[in-house]
């Protein structure tokens, strides 16, 4: 029997913020265009594949405090943002979607007898990328590595990676995050390196080309005095 997932397990991160506590639904939609190539004499219409497209939509509840959903999302309308959506329990190896999204709609609505609601719509640019979680959202206080994720085989078309840092504390704390890959799960080579993060709400999508070996993992280096970073990392083979 397949292992189904309850919707409550999903989580949503955008631009270094965890929005899961505000949202009640999230949809990542993909579609593909076709071009008709039916010719004279044909009895049936014929098509060829065209471009793929993807969108993101979420619904949730309004909160207007500092760092709450309204402050984070309302001001971003019309800008390109970075999203990671995990559709199952957030753990290393879990499937996720990463995307660059232009926020196209932000609605706030109030009705008598109900909670004030928000709706966010976004247009993905560059498509949705099927990723694997390399570091579930959680705190780290020391340099380390994540568990390895086995793809069973290497791939040849590069990788994109999505980092969200939702909290940071310490004295002049620094966080350097890399994606490493390995052909044998024994020796690890740096594959993709994020810009150093020194404060909360840092985020970045990076991409590399070429071979990505069978195993990938997170590697993180913390600096400063008593550093404590809460972050999430996912990576998609392209």
């Amino acid at each position: 029997m397949p292992s189904f997932t309850h919707g409550k397990e999903a989580s949503v991160l955008t631009n270094g913020y965890d929005m899961s506590a505000y949202l009640s639904s999230v949809t990542v939609a993909g579609e593909a265009e076709v071009a008709e190539v039916t010719t004279l004499g044909a009895d049936d219409k014929a098509y060829i594949p065209g471009l793929r497209d993807a969108t993101l939509s979420t619904e949730g509840f309004y909160a207007g405090g500092t760092g709450d959903i309204d402050e984070v999302l309302a001001a971003r309308l019309g800008t390109q943002t970075v999203w990671t959506v995990v559709m199952q329990a957030d753990a290393v190896g879990a499937l996720a979607y990463g995307a660059r999204v232009i926020d196209t709609s932000y609605e706030v609505g109030a009705e008598l007898g109900g909670a004030v609601a928000v709706t966010i719509e976004g247009q993905m640019t560059g498509g949705r990328e099927a990723a694997r979680v390399l570091h579930a959202l959680g705190s780290e206080t020391a340099t380390g590595t994540g568990a390895s994720v086995d793809n069973s085989a290497s791939t040849a078309n590069g990788l994109s990676a999505y980092l969200h840092v939702t909290a940071a504390s310490g004295t002049t704390p620094t966080l350097d995050v890399k994606v490493q890959h390995s052909a044998d799960d024994a020796t690890w080579a740096d594959l993709a390196t994020f810009a150093q993060v020194t404060s909360a709400n840092g985020y970045e999508r990076i991409a590399v080309t070429g071979t990505v070996n069978r195993y990938i993992r997170a590697q993180f280096t913390l600096g400063g005095t008593s550093p404590d970073f809460t972050f999430h990392l996912a990576a998609a083979r392209l």
């Binding site: 390995s182 044998d184 024994a186 020796t187 690890w188 740096d190 071979t211």
Partner: protein
Amino acid sequence: MDDKDKKPAKRTFVALVGLDYMAGGKPVRVEAGKKADGIPARSIPWLIEQGLIKEAK
């Protein structure tokens, strides 16, 4: 002494990207451009093939 009795020459490598591995039971971190000693033998072929290390001269 026969050739078969000679120990193989120790090969030394330079990392062309940052590497992490275990050597002598301890984690080793080598930055790009630095000498990489103690790379696990099984890793050397793929690291060379992918241009991630080169033999030191």
